[in-house]
C-alpha cells in the first residue's frame, strides 16, 4: 500500500498523456550506473490492520510505570483531556508553516496567543514561535548573545548535561569557546563565576531550578553578569513559573526552557518544545519564526509571519539561525494547556509539585542512610544518597514505580502534581523494606 489513489488504468492513461512508456521513462536523467535496479531489501508492505498489530507489539515491549518519580529533563505531569484532543484536530495537524496568511489565520493566531502566554509566564517582551527543545533553545540563545567582541559563552555545570553538550556542540560549529562554571553544593559557584566573567564573555546560562532541582541565586547571578557587561540567559521550568519569580524579574535578558511539561507526553524524549523569549531591545536578534499582528486590505486585524529579514530564506548565510520548521503543534499544545489551567491552575500545579516533592523528601530521609545531598531550597527535584541503589530502584520498578535517576552525586528524585500521597507512601515503604533487609 502506498496511499496512491489513482487506479492502474488511470496511471496508464497518465503515463500516456506525458508520453512515457513506463515509469522508467520518467527517470531518464538518472545515470544508469546510479540506478538501484533491484527491489529494496525490505519486507513487503502491510495492511493497516497488520501494521497496527506490528506497532502495538513493539509498544508492548516497553514497560510502563504507573508512578513516575523520575524527571531529569522529562516531566510526567497530568495532561488534561482537552489538551490531548485539540492538537489532534486534522486541520491543525496537517497544515504546513503558515506561509499563506489568507488561509492560515487559525495557526497564526494560535502562535500569536502562544507568544503572548510565553511573554506572560516569563515576563519578557517578545517570544518566538518556538524552537526544537530546551537544550537547543539554550544553544540558540548563546549564539544570539555573541557579538564581534564577546565570543565566549559561560554555562553553569548545574545545567542539564544534555543542554551543556548541546550548547558545546553549537559552539563547536561556529568555532566559539564554551566554559563551564563549576558547582558548589549543587548550585553555581558564584565566586568562580565572578572570576570567569570578563570582557570577552558574551553570556552566562543557568537554569532555574537547576539539574539537581536546586534553586539558584538568580538575581545575584544576573547582577554579576550584567556588571561584567554580559547577557544573562535563564533557563526556566515553565510549570515552576506558576510560583517562581519570572526570568524578567530575576534580571534575565533571554528566557528559554523546555516546554514539555506544558501538556506534552514524556514520549521517550520528544517531540518537546523549546520556548525562547527576550527583551524588546533584543527583538531583532531572536531566531526562528515570529508572528505579528497587522491589518488586511480592509483594515481588519489579522496575523502574519513577521520580521522575516532575520531568517535563512532571505538572509541565507547571514541569517541568525538556519531554523525554519520548529515545534508549532507543541506550541499549540502548550497554549491549550496554559489556557485550560489558567493563572490559578498553573499556580496550583506548581504548588502541588513542590509540596509532593518535599513530602517525598521528608519521608525518604527518615530512612537510615537516605539523606539530602544538597542544602539549598528546591522545587520538585532533589538528590539523596541511597544505599543499595540498584536493588532499591529495581524493587521500586517491580512495584510499578520508576524511581529517581542515578546521578554521580546520588539519586535525583522528582515528584509532580500527578502522584498522590498514597503513591508516595508506597514508594517510601518499598525503599524502607529493601534497606531494612
Amino acid at each position: 500500500m502506498s496511499y496512491v489513489p489513482s487506479t492502474g488504468d488511470q496511471r496508464k492513461e497518465m503515463l500516456a498523456a506525458v508520453g512515457a512508456a513506463d515509469y522508467a521513462d520518467l527517470y531518464k536523467d538518472v545515470p544508469a550506473e546510479a540506478l538501484l535496479n533491484r527491489p529494496l531489501d525490505l519486507p513487503e508492505g502491510m495492511s493497516e490492520l497488520e501494521v497496527g498489530k506490528a506497532m502495538s507489539a513493539m509498544a508492548a515491549k516497553n514497560v510502563l510505570f504507573p508512578t513516575v518519580l523520575r524527571g531529569a529533563g522529562a516531566y510526567d505531569h497530568y495532561i488534561p483531556a482537552v489538551v490531548k484532543s485539540i492538537p489532534n484536530k486534522e486541520e491543525f495537524l496537517t497544515a504546513y508553516t503558515p506561509y499563506q496568511a489568507e488561509m492560515s489565520q487559525g495557526v497564526l493566531q494560535s502562535i500569536f496567543e502562544y507568544q503572548t502566554m510565553i511573554c506572560e509566564i516569563t515576563g519578557m517582551d517578545v517570544s518566538n514561535a518556538s524552537v526544537y527543545d530546551g537544550a537547543s533553545a539554550a544553544a540558540e540563545a548563546a549564539a544570539m548573545c555573541r557579538d564581534r567582541k564577546r565570543r565566549v559563552t559561560l554555562i553553569s555545570a548545574s545545567s542539564h548535561p544534555d543542554t551543556i553538550n548541546t550548547v558545546r556542540t553549537y559552539c563547536y560549529g561556529t568555532g566559539d569557546e564554551l566554559r563551564v562554571v563549576p558547582v558548589k553544593d549543587g548550585r553555581t559557584d558564584l565566586e568562580a563565576l565572578k572570576e570567569m566573567l570578563g570582557a570577552d564573555i558574551a553570556s552566562f546560562y543557568v537554569q532555574q531550578p537547576n539539574f539537581y532541582g536546586q534553586l539558584e541565586e538568580v538575581e545575584e547571578i544576573a547582577g554579576l553578569v550584567h556588571e561584567a557587561g554580559a547577557m544573562f540567559v535563564m533557563g526556566a521550568n515553565p510549570i515552576s513559573l506558576g510560583i517562581l519569580k519570572s526570568p524578567r524579574e530575576c534580571g534575565a535578558d533571554v528566557a528559554v526552557g523546555e516546554g514539555q511539561p506544558l501538556g506534552m507526553p514524556i514520549g521517550y524524549g520528544g517531540p518537546y518544545l523549546g520556548f525562547m523569549a527576550t527583551t524588546a531591545k533584543n527583538m531583532r536578534k531572536l531566531p526562528g519564526r515570529i508572528v505579528g499582528e497587522t491589518v488586511d486590505d480592509k483594515g481588519e486585524r489579522c496575523y502574519v509571519l513577521s520580521l522575516q529579514a532575520r531568517e535563512q530564506h532571505i538572509r541565507r548565510e547571514k541569517a541568525s539561525s538556519n531554523i525554519c520548521s520548529n515545534e508549532a503543534l507543541c506550541a499549540l499544545t502548550a497554549g491549550v494547556y496554559l489556557a485550560t489551567m489558567g493563572p490559578e491552575g498553573l499556580k496550583e500545579a506548581a504548588s502541588q509539585c513542590m509540596a509532593k516533592a518535599h513530602y517525598l523528601a521528608k519521608e525518604l530521609t527518615k530512612i537510615e542512610g537516605v539523606d539530602l545531598v544538597f542544602t539549598g531550597e528546591y522545587f520538585h527535584e532533589f538528590v539523596t544518597t541511597l544505599p543499595k541503589q540498584d536493588e532499591v530502584l529495581k524493587a521500586l520498578e517491580d512495584a510499578g514505580i520508576l524511581g529517581g535517576f542515578p546521578v554521580k552525586e546520588g539519586v535525583l528524585w522528582c515528584a509532580t502534581e500527578k502522584v498522590s500521597k498514597c503513591e508516595l507512601d508506597r514508594a517510601v515503604s518499598v525503599v524502607k523494606e529493601v534497606l531494612a533487609k
Partner: protein
Amino acid sequence: MKLIFEKSVAGRHSDILPKCDVEPVELSARFARTDAPALPEMAEVDVARHYTELNDRVHGVNCGFYPLGSCTMKYNPRIDEDMAALPGFAGVHPLAPDYATEGCREVLETAKKYLCEVSGMDDMTFQPAAGAHGEFTGVLLIKQYHDARGDKKRTKIIVPDSAHGTNPATAAMCGFEVVNIDSAPDGCVDLEALKNALGEDTAGLMLTNPNTVGIFDPNILEITRLVHEAGGLCYYDGANLNAIMGVVRPGDMGFDCVHMNLHKTFATPHGGGGPGAGAVGCKDFLKEFLPRSVVMDGEGRIQVRSFAGNFLVTVRAVTYLLTLGREGIPEASQNAVLNANYLMRAIQGSFDLAFDRTCMHEFVLDLSEYKKETGVSALDVAKSLIDYGMHPPTMYFPLIVHEALMLEPTETESKETLDEAAAIFRKLYELGKTDPEPMHAAPHHAQIGRPDEVGAARHPVLRWQKPEE
C-alpha cells in the same frame, strides 16, 4: 475573531487537579512570584470552542489540494497518529532502564534499517528535530571528519545558488565560509563553476538532487567524484527525496551523508510548522561522529538537542514505512513523479514552464513573460488560487527563476484532483488576459484580504497587551 485573552472572564476556570493531599510548602520570598501571569481564565467549553474556531481557519492537507513545492504535502495517514498515541510509546520516560525501553529501541532500529536501505547509508541518528537541524548535524559530521584528520585548511562549503536558504545558513552555523556557485540555466550544477570552486580549502558540497527546480542532475556521479577528488565530502539535502525512493539512492550517487525530512517524505504531519524530524544518515567512515545524548548514552559525542530526538514522529514514520514496504516505497515515488509530470503537461499551453522537459516530483512555472504581458504576477495567481480552495504553490523560489511558482502535487492526489487543478490554472491564465483587475486584489473569499506585511515588520506587534484599566 477575538483573541483568547479577549474571551477571558475573571474568576472562570476548569477543575483539573484534586486538592493537594500533602502539606503545602512555602518558598522563600526572594524566589516567590508575586504577580500572576495574565493567562486566559476560561471554562473548558470556552477553550474547546476557541480552538475549534481557530481550527476552522486552517487549511490542512485534509482540506484540499496543497501543491506547496519542496514541502511534500502528502496525505498523513490516520493510523500513524493512533500508533504515536499508544501509551506504550507516549508514556515511556527517556531515562527509563534499558529493559523497559526495548520497544522504543526496536522502533529506532527499524527506522534505521528502512531508511538506510532507502538512502544507501550505513548508519543513522534520529536526534535532529527538523530538516534544518538535520543539515546542521550532517555538516557537523563533515567538520568533525576533517578535524579528526587534522585537516584544518578545509574552511569552505560549496552551495549552488539554487539551494534552499537553509543550506548556506547551516554552513555558516558550522563555521564554514559559503562559496555560492552559479547554477547552469537548468538549475543543475555548472561543472566548470564547480571545478573552479574546488580546492584544498573545500570541506564539502551541499546539494539536493533532484534539484530545487525539480530536475535530476544527470552529472551527479561526476559532481560527487570531483568533490571527493578535491578531498571534500558530499552532503545530500533530502528535501526532494520523495522523487527517487527505491529508484536511485543518495549513497549510490556518491553522497557521504544525508538528512531526510520524516515530516515530508515519510508522511508525518507538519502540524502548522513542526514538530518534524530530520533523520541523518551517513556512510560507515562517518558514524563515529554521529550525535548522542549525554544522559542516555554518556559523554564524548556531539549533540544537537536533548534525548533521542522527536521519537513519536519517528514512530509515525516507521508505521508508514512498514505499511509501504518493499513495493510501496518506490510506488510512492514513481507516482509522485508521474503526478508532477501529468499536472505540468496539463497546465502547459497556459503559463510557461520554466523548463520544458521531464520533471521529477515538482516543477516550476515562470510567469515573467505573462506578467510583462498582463501585469498579473506570480503572487496574484497564487492569491487567486485561494479563492478556489487550493493552497498556493511555493512562490518566488527558487531564486534563479523570476516570478516562479513551484508545484509539487505528491503521489497522494488523484487524477481527478490534478485535472481540476489544471483547469483552475488555465482559467486563471485566461482571466489574467481578459480581466486582470480582480486578481491584483485576490483573494476575495478568504479568511482575510491581503495582509499588510510591511506594516507588520515596521511596527512590530508581537503579543497581545492587556488594555489599560
